[in-house]
Amino acid sequence: MAITGRLTMTNQTSIHGILAEFDSVDGILHAAEKVKQEGYRKWDCHTPFPVHGLDGAMGIRQTRLPWLVLVMGFAGCSGGILLQWWTNAHDYVFRISGKPDWSLPANIPVAFEMTILFAALTAFFSMWILNGFPRWYSPLFRAKCFTRATDDRFVLAIDARDDLFGEETRKLLESLSPNTIEMIEAPIEDGKIPLRLKGMLGIALTLLLLPPAMIANARFTKSTQPRVHIVPNMDTQVTHRGQEASDFFADGQAMRLPISGTYAQEDDRLIGEQVGFWTGKENGAYLSSIPMDVTPEFEDRGRARFGIYCSACHAVNGSGQGTVHLRAQELLSKTWVGPTDLRTDAIKQQAPGQLFESISNGIRNMPSYSSQIPAADRWAIVQYLKESL
């Protein structure tokens, strides 16, 4: 018969249940059978080791844990396979060691390990979660005899919330001849998390916002500081690259000039037999034709080179009204001598060799372009000047 008033209040404590302590396996087994027979539902046995037979005596049903583990094991296996397929055969294909992109045999070890890992983590965590752990607070720990439940005593505890809990409960337990019987009494606690802890949590959370804020700042602002080498690796090596400064050489440059008297094959100064090609002159007279094969590609090249090197001053149409000229005029008309209009007859009548020489060596205000434009390209520009402009 049920007794109402599940929580018997005293001043500062409340009753959570009742304990009966036994000192043998047989005692607890017998007691468990009896309590189960009486129809109690919210009760438990607490033992220092798993007592075999108690599951049956208490009527505990088999846990579903194995199924969870099986499912997660499969998940781990397929996850492992998928991961390896996606990373190595799909997203970033490794063509390596003469193996096919998708090499299943080589993926089995990792898939296997993932199976075990997932299954084991599931077994471990599901067990604790299903058991409701961690559960540091329990009124049970207040009971005096309970400390020996992890040593050498077997304790049967009936929860005060059980429908049948009442005076009969004590009588029932007494009839089982336990060592002692004890009420579980614990001080009433409201169970609220202390303000101080909440405050500390708040501060911790705020601190956690700092790194993202720093990252956001770095992302959305410019910096005059060079890149950050979190780990320098071999970003900077002792080798030198083009145009770098170097203390090693007297001139302070890493790039070296050719040994004196030697020239690169395409060097302007390598005059050799084709004097006209390099200078525009042969035997003192300007070349009257272009010493190269004139092909459509050559003509296109001429137009493009003209656009790159000449049009800034001479303008795309050769009128001499290029952007640089316009700006120079705007700024300082006094000293500025405007570029020549390349469409005039004076220019048109010049021999190709003479035009070539002007580009190469400069003329009046125009500087030499031989260092910027290779000879062949200069000829292409000449061709463009003569024929297309």
Binding site: H52, L70, G98, K99, P105, A106, I108
Partner: protein, 410 residues
């Protein structure tokens, strides 16, 4: 704690064993006769028949020697769970001398000069090295020569038969005397025997099966066959126990718990077999060295491709999932089905190890294999039944038998 020790009585299954024995003999004679007939009809110097015979022989050898392993391991570990089924393994090892007799016909393909021109030897091409690898194979002659080969087998069977005789007789002797000293002595002797058995069986595996491709080699091959044999003997014990229980024997002595344990070991050795088979495959696949991969190359190219898929899927995944659950391991008829299934794939595994070496371009499998297997297994069961006819099915005075019946799987 002073329990009065219960006593158990012997369980003679004379009638059931006789039936098994008679049926086996009938199958053996008919099966072999048909197989020989079919083999002769093929007109290939009986090569196909000899292949079938070799595999069928290897199959029963894994049961016989597997049984020896089983018995030795039970003794050396002092296993309690297996006491009530161990006797059946002891009957299986009692057939070993007979297996030596079954091996005798294999001398024919060994010494025969039939088909020498084409194959070099009907089963073992090293008998007359020829073809691409002749020079390589010739360099192995100190080991691979007919006389030494025959000599080794005489040695293997002598050793195995002696061991089998000792362990079977000592156990049966205990039925009469109940002497515990016997258990102690068997335990002591099993250690040394196990070492000798491991070595001889490895070399037997090399000789009988691996040398059918004399150019190929694998250090794990012996372990591969251990794994397969362990698996086979556990399956055989399940089936054999089921048979005797159906005939009304061992009813109370072999419980669900024993099936559960046998099932667990079947599962364990299914995994172990897969582990060994995968290790061998993976290492050769990965290394991709011609003389090693050639063996697998034959097997993964047509016409052997489909047979090769049976290995990972049929021999591992299906039985693994089949017997993973404890509910299945605790239902003897279901477990019996899986035991039978595994024995079938075990045969396929043995066939797959050898046949592609001899027939790289065709799958010769047909009735010859089936009837040869029926014949040889039939003869094996004939001898097995004869053993069982004479002795108790239960080592009923083994000192550990109470423990064997007391345990429970938690």
């Amino acid at each position: 704690m002073n329990h009065t020790a219960p006593t158990y009585s012997a369980d003679f299954a004379t009638a059931a064993a006789s039936r098994l024995s008679r049926a086996g003999f009938l199958c053996g004679v008919v099966g072999l006769a048909v197989a020989i007939g079919l083999g002769l009809a093929e007109g290939d110097h009986m090569r196909h028949f000899w292949l079938s015979y070799l595999i069928a022989f290897a199959f029963v050898l894994t049961l016989g020697v597997g049984g020896l392993f089983f018995v030795l391991i039970q003794h050396i570990t002092g296993a309690k769970w297996s006491v009530t089924v161990r006797r059946q393994a002891e009957f299986a090892i009692g057939t070993i001398p007979f297996l030596a007799f079954l091996a005798l016909p294999l001398l024919v393909p060994l010494f025969s000069h039939e088909g020498v021109e084409e194959f070099g030897g009907l089963l073992w091409s090293w008998v007359h090295p020829h073809g691409d690898h002749a020079a390589l194979i010739t360099s192995k002659v100190p080991f691979l020569n007919v006389n030494f080969f025959v000599g080794r087998f005489v040695g293997y069977f002598l050793i195995w038969s002696l061991m089998a005789r000792y362990f079977k007789n000592a156990s049966i002797e205990q039925d009469k005397t109940g002497e515990h000293e016997l258990t102690v002595r068997m335990r002591t002797r099993s250690a040394l025997c196990l070492i000798v058995l491991a070595l001889t069986y490895s070399f037997a595996a090399f000789d009988l099966l691996m040398s059918t491709d004399p150019a190929w080699f694998s250090t794990i091959f012996g372990v591969y066959l251990f794994g397969a044999s362990f698996l086979a003997i556990h399956c055989f014990l399940v089936l054999s126990t089921l048979y005797y229980q159906r005939q009304g024997h061992l009813k109370k002595m072999v419980t669900i718990e024993h099936y559960h344990d046998l099932g667990k070991l079947m599962l364990a050795f299914t995994i172990f077999w897969a582990y060994i088979a995968f290790s061998q495959y993976m290492l050769y696949w990965y290394g991709n060295i011609p003389e090693e991969t050639a063996w697998y190359l034959i097997r993964i190219t047509s016409p052997w491709t489909n047979w090769s898929w049976i290995e990972p899927i049929g021999h591992f995944f299906i039985p693994f999932l089949g017997i993973l659950s404890r509910h299945i391991k605790r239902k003897p008829p279901l477990l019996g089905f899986w035991a039978f299934y595994i024995l079938v794939v075990h045969y396929i595994d043995l066939y797959w190890l050898v046949a592609p070496n001899l027939y790289p371009d065709t799958v010769p499998f047909n009735g010859v294999e089936v009837f040869a297997l029926i014949g040889v297994v039939g003869l094996f069961l004939w001898k097995y039944g004869q053993q069982a006819k004479q002795h108790s099915l239960l080592a009923h005075r083994d000192p550990l038998i109470s423990d064997c019946l007391a345990f429970q799987n938690y």
